[in-house]
């Protein structure tokens, strides 16, 4: 392969086939920093498909990472259900108050994507990104899982009450959410997304016991994900993942995001070359890192991923706004230095 340029898609494919890549693939979802570099506000950048595309292409040019993404903030996915989106200047938009009550569930129907301008905008961004990068760079879409969406539909506390005490409403809610999630995921794939990030923090052992995830969360994923028409990665949004690795292999996931407090070496060992590992830079700690800290963290992951099976990324799916550009540049440069020397 000497002298032959390796595309990002080929690099990811090699790593996810558990063979040594030319260098460890990485992805820093720094769209908030990209907005800043473009001179745009967070809202202005996220709501306009052309700005989303410009931000993603800027990140490719600046960092040289291996994925472009039109993943939307979770708050956007709440909007079709009657939820509101609250923008702040120094971070991602957050969901407004939960729009639903448990008593609403029996008559609940899945909303239509056509009623959600922001999600339609995301589809347009995917189309444009795919047109720009073709097959050379994976285009990532995302969905919040049917099992986790109620965290913002109902709020955690009311959701737990439904989950524990109202099984009929729980089942109904899962059916309705799964119908919406399937439409939303397949629309992204049809628009050009080549992989889907399935955000399911509620199934993480951080949120519910492993048995509950196996009994409730993962069966819903099993009924949904085989039908979206693209490879998928499961992400628990900073929650722990390692106790569920075998279950995620059985689910057919291509990769899984691990938490910042989990050990990437343990995750790779327990994955036993069956599922890729994504992570696990600590985005919150990154806000206070020096360039030396960034270099050390990136070098550690670069070494861990040299044999394949690892995509270096943050642990949450979004680089926090306060993280400075020089830190991201240092991480990217360290990863891009290529296959690590022995003992690196």
């Amino acid at each position: 392969m000497i002298g032959v340029a390796v595309s990002s898609a080929e690099r990811l494919d090699t790593a996810l086939s558990f063979r040594p890549p030319d260098r460890v693939p990485f992805f820093l979802p720094a769209h908030l920093q990209a907005a800043r570099r473009l001179g745009l506000g967070v809202r202005e950048c996220l709501e306009t498909p052309e700005h989303v595309v410009a931000a993603q292409l800027l990140l490719r040019d600046w960092l040289g990472h291996d994925v472009v993404s039109a993943a939307v903030p979770a708050a956007f996915e709440l909007e079709p259900w009657g939820g509101s989106v609250e923008f702040v200047d120094n971070g991602p938009p957050v969901a407004g108050p939960p729009p639903m009550e448990p008593d609403d569930i029996p008559t609940l129907e899945p909303p239509s994507l056509s009623d959600s301008p922001r999600l339609l905008g995301a589809l347009r961004a995917i189309e444009m990104l795919r047109a720009r990068v073709g097959d050379a760079v994976p285009v990532m879409g995302s969905i919040v899982s049917p099992f986790s969406l109620p965290l913002i539909q109902l709020g955690f506390e009311r959701y737990l009450e439904v989950l524990v005490e109202r099984p009929a409403e729980f089942q109904r809610l899962m059916e309705v959410n799964a119908a919406f999630c399937l439409e939303w995921a397949t629309a992204q794939v049809n628009a050009g997304a080549t992989m889907i990030a399935y955000y399911d923090p509620m199934s993480s052992p951080t949120c519910v016991p492993v048995d509950t995830a196996r009994e409730l969360g993962l069966p819903i994923a099993r009924r949904l994900l085989p039908f979206i028409g693209a490879p998928f990665a499961v992400h628990f949004a900073s929650g722990h993942s390692i106790p569920l690795l075998d279950d995620l292999v059985a689910l057919g996931a291509t990769a899984v995001g691990i938490g910042a407090q989990e050990d990437v070496a343990v995750a790779l060992e327990r994955s036993r070359r069956r599922i890729g590992i994504v992570g696990n830079l600590n985005g919150v700690a990154m806000c206070g890192w020096s360039p030396a800290d960034a270099r050390a963290a990136a070098a550690h992951l670069r070494a861990a991923g040299a044999g394949g099976g690892l995509i270096v990324a943050d642990c949450h799916g979004e680089i926090p706004y306060p993280v400075q550009d020089d830190i991201l540049s240092t991480i990217a440069e360290t990863i891009r230095q290529g296959a690590p020397e022995a003992g690196d």
Partner: protein, 218 residues
């Protein structure tokens, strides 16, 4: 009904942990009736409930229990304490004046589990709600002469806003102690100092001890 000795606190706390892990409210309530009936509500709260919730806190920190289990345990303990104190013969602890809020965003679970732990320890507390802007929260705490303000944040952007609260409280004389918690503080154990808090705790049950610590009572 046969009266048997309630036994020493440590085994009772261990029994309560077992009940809470099984989500068995009936058994937990029976344990409370037996123990508190013989020793009084506050010895039961201090010697059985608080250690039981501390055990949940330890397990939460090591991944031994999930957030949903911490919540359900706190909820059962809150109901028990409500019942123990509902007759009016014994009042909740009114000192110090405590308030709690989730700053700026609508993620309420952290606030709720801390509220449950604090109320399960017999304290009264004012709930300022969720999505409260930092400056509003600081003004309300000062106006209400709050002595300990508990602030929960899930989003990093919300956690960083806590600095606005700490600055306001310092300008107001520093009589209000600020305790913070939430995912950003777990991911960066130096963050609580950077936002000017007086203390932080990785688990809900820590709040009960931190309330005493920041007031110099422990």
């Amino acid at each position: 009904m046969t009266t048997t000795d309630a036994g020493s606190p440590a085994p009772a706390a261990a029994s309560l942990v077992d009940c809470l892990l099984r989500n068995d409210r009936v058994a937990a309530r029976a344990l409370a009736e037996r123990w508190a009936g013989q020793r009084g509500p506050f010895p039961f709260i201090d010697d059985v409930i608080v250690p039981a919730l501390d055990e949940f806190g330890r397990r939460w920190e090591t991944g031994g229990v999930a957030l949903a289990q911490v919540y359900m345990a706190g909820r059962i303990c809150e109901l028990i304490v409500d019942e123990l104190l509902s007759g009016g013969a014994v009042a909740r602890r009114q000192v110090p004046r405590i308030a709690i809020a989730a700053v700026s965003d609508q993620h309420t679970m952290g606030k709720r589990v801390v509220s449950l732990a604090v109320r399960a320890a017999g304290f009264e507390l004012v709930d300022y709600g969720a999505g409260v802007p930092a400056d509003t929260l600081a003004r309300r705490a000062s106006a209400d002469s709050i002595e300990v303000l508990l602030v929960s944040a899930l989003m990093l952007s919300s956690a960083l806003e806590i600095e606005t609260i700490s600055r306001h409280l310092a300008r107001s004389g520093g009589a209000t102690k600020l305790i913070v918690g939430g995912a950003p503080f777990r991911l960066d154990p130096t963050l609580w100092r950077r936002v000017g808090a007086d203390a932080w705790g990785p688990s809900a049950s820590d709040a009960v001890h931190l309330i005493a610590d920041v007031r110099g009572e422990s």
